[in-house]
């Protein structure tokens, strides 16, 4: 049987606490501890620490704990309380949804004549739902010019938003 050094013996004392002591080393460790008082003291202290760590068990907090959790979920974060962080998945889904909405809206706007598009947007916003005053002739020409550029920037904006949404949705896959 190979004699153990003190460092080896102390590593084995630690492994023994977790049931990781190789069976062949058990006898060597016992022999070492019988002959080496400092290592025997270390082994005794290691057992005390092990027992104390086991004794720190708080027990079951009981059904009232469950009730507290459910109540906290029902009421949401109280004023001054740390807010429950927004779930990344839902945030990403919201961004992806917004991106899709933007793309659809941009496509719809790009396909509509400018005056119809203005009326369409106004009709969806109560404060703007009053009749849209006719634009003076030069303004109509200017907007018609911009209208031809709309598909380009709208597609670029929608694409960027969709990429951001996809990126955030991908990040949310981890716990």
């Amino acid at each position: 049987m190979r004699p153990l050094s003190c460092a080896d013996a102390r590593a084995l004392v630690d492994a023994r606490l977790d049931g990781r002591l190789p069976s062949g080393d058990d006898a060597a460790l016992r022999t070492h501890l019988e002959a080496c008082a400092p290592c025997a003291a270390v082994a005794a202290d290691a057992r005390r620490v092990h027992s104390a760590l086991l004794a720190l068990h708080p027990g079951d907090p009981g059904p009232e704990f469950t009730e507290r959790v459910i109540a906290a979920l029902d009421r949401g974060p109280a004023p001054g309380e740390a807010a429950i962080p927004a779930p990344r998945g839902r945030f990403a889904a919201a961004v992806a949804g917004a991106a899709a909405t933007t793309a659809l809206a941009a496509a719809a706007v790009a396909l509509l004549p400018v005056e119809e598009a203005a009326a369409s947007v106004a009709s969806r916003i109560p404060l703007l739902a009053s009749p849209v005053p006719a634009l003076p002739e030069p303004a109509t020409r200017l907007l018609a010019g911009i209208g031809t550029a709309v598909p380009v920037w709208a597609a670029a904006a929608a694409g960027a938003a969709a990429l951001l949404g996809a990126f955030l949705a991908g990040r949310s896959a981890r716990p």
Binding site: D14, D45, A55, L56, P61, V69, P87
Partner: protein, 192 residues
């Protein structure tokens, strides 16, 4: 593998809770509150803080549960969620609130010991260990907490904390060595 994990009854419960089933979520809290509190109790210095932290874990679980893949065992995923949440919360707290030192709190004597002197010694040791445990680095404490709250193996701890097994072994060894030294110093400094 533990017997409980062979059947993994929480897997189906978690899937139902993730789909919005309230009673299923309540059942998950019932099933895991003891284990989560046991972990939190070893990461903090007093029970009230541990219970607050455990509650935060379940609120966080509610937020992330829909990311759980029911095709995988629930317990390792839940332990990872717990450890990540607790470590993030502790790191985010100001140092003053992180160190809720309560060395005068009455320790729980080991009720299994019939000898009152030994029971008192055990209680002293438990108090000293709790005090010194809270002074260890959070990463070491997390390893100790998983080892002693659920009796997890090195491989299971490594999986829960996303660490190599050798790192887990080293942290466990160093943490127990530090606690052992702290106990020895305390004993030698105490008047006979």
């Amino acid at each position: 593998m533990r017997p409980m994990e062979r059947t993994d009854p929480d897997r189906e419960t978690a899937a139902r809770a993730a789909a919005g089933d309230g009673p299923a979520f309540r059942a998950l809290v019932d099933a895991w509150r003891g284990r989560v509190l046991a972990f939190c109790a070893r990461m903090t210095r007093d029970r009230a803080t541990a219970e607050d932290l455990a509650q935060e874990v379940f609120l966080h679980l509610y937020q992330v549960l829909r990311r759980y893949d029911p095709g995988r065992p629930f317990a390792p995923w839940m332990r990872r969620v717990t450890a990540n949440c607790v470590l993030n919360r502790l790191r985010a707290r100001p140092a003053a609130t992180r160190s809720l030192d309560d060395p005068d709190a009455p320790p729980r004597a080991d009720s299994r010991s019939p000898d009152p002197v030994r029971a008192a010694e055990g209680a002293d040791q438990a108090r000293a260990v709790r005090l010194h445990l809270a002074r260890l680095p959070e990463g070491w404490r997390a390893v100790v907490a998983l080892r002693y709250s659920e009796g997890l193996s090195i491989a299971e701890i490594a999986s829960a904390l996303d660490l190599p097994e050798n790192t887990v072994k080293t942290r466990l060894f160093r943490a127990r060595e530090a606690l052992r030294e702290a106990l020895r110093t305390e004993r030698e400094g105490r008047p006979a």
